[in-house]
């Protein structure tokens, strides 16, 4: 594990570079194939509406995968992430309009722990709604 950020360089409140991740229906089909999650709520609008959703929604695990990129890009080595957890609070709704949705992710160092570890709190929103709650990673810095 070779993080490019030094523990001594960060403090509680240090912000990580924020990112915006686009997601379209094509993204969801590709993610379904790669992850093996073919639940039709992620690609079939008729089915999604029938089960009470406003439209097709992104896989929660897709959103979770995008959010941690803010941390792995910052740390350099993805293996710096030693813990990562989220709560799925609201779905990311992905309309079939050729534009799709945006997942906006920001993160900051919430606490410095022992052993060169820091806790990073993440915020992920889409269409103004918080889509992840309790989203936290523990990261080992250099």
């Amino acid at each position: 594990m070779t993080a490019k950020i030094a523990y001594a360089e960060v403090e509680a409140g240090t912000e990580l570079p924020a990112r915006t991740f686009p997601v379209t229906r094509a993204t969801l089909v590709q993610y379904a194939g790669a992850s093996g999650d073919f639940n039709p709520i992620h690609w079939n609008e008729k089915f999604a509406v029938e089960v009470g959703l406003p439209d097709v929604i992104a896989h929660g695990m897709f959103t979770m995968a995008e959010a941690i990129r803010v941390v792995t890009d910052w740390a350099g080595d993805p293996a710096a992430v030693v813990e990562y957890g989220v709560r799925f609070t609201k779905p990311v709704v992905v309309p079939n309009d050729g534009v799709g949705a945006l997942i906006e992710v920001s993160a900051k160092v919430a606490a410095k722990l022992d052993d060169n570890l820091v806790r990073v709190d993440l915020t992920a929103t889409s269409a103004g709604q918080k889509v992840l709650g309790m989203s936290r990673a523990v990261v080992r810095l250099a």
Partner: protein, 152 residues
Amino acid sequence: MALDQSFVGRTYPPTAPYEVGREKIREFAEAIGDANPAYTDPEAAKELGHPDVIAPPTFVFAITFKAAGQVIEDPQLGLDYSRVVHGDQKFAYTRPVRAGDRLAVTSTIEAIKSMAGNDILDIRGEVHDETGEHVVTAWTKLVSRAPEEVGP
């Protein structure tokens, strides 16, 4: 229907090993749009101290969730999967998953709760490689929504 509390603590047999391939990791990294070379270039991964390409942090979910199928589809437990949504997900890593790993998952039911008619099931998946070394633990909270609209 409330789930049987006596299932709390039940551990299912380890799964047959899942062999992690470089191209499967590449496919997953491309699907999440992540161009980090540690996922696709063995030399870049070696520069970071890894013996082969590593997988993005959430890659292992596909393996642990498939293993959790033993729990979800256990007819004795009686979970109505058509009403299940993913509530929480957490991972704790001893090391990253990497190409060449042969991973077995042991699933345990950690908790069963009933709230406002919803069944809430916590499943822990312990992932070990073929030498028996711990790689990652995954905690998955599933919520089976009540058949009628009961509460939030």
